[in-house]
Symmetry: C2
Subunit: 329 residues, 2 copies
């Protein structure tokens, strides 16, 4: 029972050809259809509730006002507040405004062509797959900067935000700063490290990079302190509490003796509500999703691919203070 209604069905019902039905629906005016015929077709369409088949249209290289969303992890996670969630909120809002529906790919990337274009979240997709998308001219936008060539993205300007925090620290008298974190290989980490190094260089202050390994902070911290470092820039927000604890264990007050700056915000909203208000910045995740959809529809509509960086909001917090005179160089 109940096969899908096709244009052929409509055509048979109204005694016209399938082509006429298509022309009534998408006619550019180049081919004219009599008003009366047009009306008969439209009536049949309304009566049957006909809607053009997604696959048929895509095969004929037409758009469906359907945007794909690709994530490696489930879109609806079990954990309540998830890293991706704010992006998705922005994506949904903008899609609604633009009259597009969202197609969630529950598995691998091969189904992406079902949609007019795709939003690729974070690093959920490999470099080679990304290159393939570019090569095949399938419209997509990455949420989060991707270093591959010709990859359109909407990212957060982690470099600028990090540099701004470095500048603030220098302003407060800090002369020996350290970056604590891997600094790679994800673009977001590279950006932070580059922003850090560049800003330190520009300000003429000493910069150290401590490629922290989980739990190895205990070993690294004394070395940094011995080197006269007065401000620590932490790549991984989730480790903020740990770092402060280690510093206190070494007899340093935060921010009395040492300042701590976190390069981002903890992922989970409610979980472990930081015991203090750390100096940090905020990734504009909702806006990024919003802009990504915006940009994707432009590309689908034939516009040029762009690479956008949005500014992060600085959160002053309480862990960046004037460098203590006794540690000052």
């Amino acid at each position: 029972m109940g096969r899908r209604v096709t244009q052929r069905d409509i055509a048979r019902m109204t005694g016209v050809s399938q082509a006429t039905v298509s022309l009534v629906l998408n006619g550019s005016g180049a081919v004219r259809i009599a008003q009366e015929t047009r009306q008969r077709v439209l009536d049949a369409i309304r009566a049957t509730g006909y809607v053009a088949d997604v696959v048929g249209r895509r095969l004929a290289d037409r758009s469906n006002r359907i945007l794909g969303v690709f994530t490696y992890e489930p879109v609806f996670p079990s954990a309540t507040a998830d890293f991706y969630h704010p992006f998705l909120v922005g994506i949904e809002q903008r899609a609604e405004q633009l009259g597009c529906d969202l197609l969630l790919f529950t598995s691998g990337p091969h189904r992406m062509r079902l949609a007019d274009g795709c939003i690729v979240l974070g690093r959920s997709i490999g470099r080679d797959e990304l290159a393939r998308l570019v090569a095949e001219h399938h419209p997509f936008v990455s949420v989060g900067r991707r270093d591959a060539p010709d990859v359109p993205y909407v990212g957060a300007d982690y470099g600028a935000a990090t540099a701004a925090l470095v500048a603030a620290a220098v302003e407060l008298g800090h002369r020996r700063l350290a970056y604590v974190g891997t600094g790679g290989p994800a673009e977001s980490h590279l950006d932070r490290l580059r922003g850090f190094a560049g800003a330190c260089l520009a300000a003429g202050v000493s910069a150290t990079h401590e490629p922290r390994r989980d739990g190895a902070l205990d070993g690294a911290v004394p070395r940094l302190l011995a080197a006269g470092v007065t401000a620590l820039f932490l790549e991984e927000p989730a480790d903020a509490a740990d770092l402060v604890a280690v510093l206190r264990a070494h007899g340093r007050d935060v921010p009395g003796d040492v300042s701590v700056v976190v390069l981002g915000e903890p992922t989970r909203a409610g979980a472990t509500p930081a015991p203090f208000d750390v100096t940090r910045f905020r990734t504009p995740r909702r806006e990024m999703g919003w802009r990504a959809v915006d940009h994707l529809t432009e590309i689908v509509g034939g516009g040029p691919a762009q690479q956008t960086l949005l500014a992060c909001e600085l959160v002053p917090g309480e862990t960046l203070r004037t460098a203590s005179s006794k540690e000052r160089t």
Copy 2:
């Protein structure tokens, strides 16, 4: 660079027909291909990185494996833990297992036919729209019981759960019970009230229905207490704290003097974590989503429409106790 590699390309490269390429990829064994030819084709496929185009494939087997999800409210809400969320988790999980993608109708209900079938969440859609779907034979499944005729659904058995709690109360000596809540018009409320009334009747105990209006509990409670009610069955979980507060304001201890049973669970996980462990039941939301997808794919595949009720898990809690002897009749 540019075009996608197709089976025709592979065929030309290896000097076979397009059909042969397809057979190498999906051959059921009915048609045999020489080992050597097969290998040549496979080599070419590996060399070019050919991947079958979903669009072509779906056109050929005339199923696009797209399931729609219709909600009136945003699927990705701003609030962290949302009522719909557990349903969606289940829906996504099962869709992935079945190889279906999910289409979110952010643009409204008029495009529902883009999908092979739809999951309709809760009361997000009106009776008339629902009737239209049935009349037009568009496959769909409602998550949550719907009283309209021929509407397939996966619901929770609120009636049975309520009846079980009534039975438990009677077992503990309660003889005068009250249902506090509207008892309609939503099916879920009707079910609760019916389950309550039926179970009270069967047990031969007195049943009162107090059609509470928000904030009017203050007025209703003394009346109920005066009538000798010892157990209150509350329809709206969010009001549990209020109700208990009112009871205490009237000098009654919960559950010392009066028992309170909540017919469901608070929507939000984290928000206002109830100050006490109330006796209640739990709607199997994740499983409902799961089963709805399951059922929908069956219907799309030509199976019969069914109406399913899943059992709710009872949570003993601490607010249902032996009826105090002084109030006992």
